[in-house]
């Protein structure tokens, strides 16, 4: 069972306690939400890369040629 370390800043007391079933469920839900956010970002990056590649193709330029033009 996962535990959390509680640090009471008023008393200085530290206690390690097991997560409740509700806390474990919330932990899993938060992890799924984060993974969904990462996947959405990855999909956006892939889409942007495709747009960039399509534009370069239409212009008839390579990525290195564009870098040279902009440097």
């Amino acid at each position: 069972m996962p535990t959390k370390l509680i640090i009471n800043c008023e008393t200085g007391e530290q206690t390690e306690v097991e997560l409740t079933s509700e806390e474990i469920a919330q932990r899993e839900a938060d992890a799924k939400a984060y993974e969904a956010e990462v996947k959405a970002k990855d999909a956006e990056s892939v889409a942007q890369a495709k747009v960039k590649a399509d534009v370069l193709k239409r212009l008839g330029l390579t990525e290195n040629e564009v870098k040279a033009l902009l440097s």
Partner: protein
Amino acid sequence: MANTYTLINSATAGSGGVASFDFTSIPQTYTDLILTISARSSRTTGGTDGLRLEINGSSANFTYILLDGDGSSAQSAPGSSGLVAQLPQAGGSPGYTANTFASTSIYLPNYAGSNNKSFSIDTTTENNAISSYLDLIALFWSQTAAISSLSLKSTTANNLVQYSTAYLYGISNS
């Protein structure tokens, strides 16, 4: 160090690691807070794990802008979680050198005030390899409540491994 920079409390993960560090009953007597963290995730699959912040028991109402460099490329990205760091982990891609930890510093100004809260974060992973992350993060918590508790936990429901540490400091402006 100036005498206005005061250690409030610290924590170290013991054997087996912990799911979170929870600082509670934070005194409201300082001007700002600084949280410094050294942490590694127990995650063994997938990509790099993340470290996220919860305030007063809530993981909601966060937004951030991240500026990230990994040794070969840089990117900027927005997000809507309390992300404060990327953590080395045992497996997955990119792999990290054994026993390396991420170093993170979070500055929390006017934490006891009644305005929305904004934080600045600098963090880096440690890795004996070409790829390693260096991030600057602007984190925003759109809530006006004074901050009385802070929790740090993995974004992927994994543990912070043994010897991970967190230090909470209070900063006074006088």
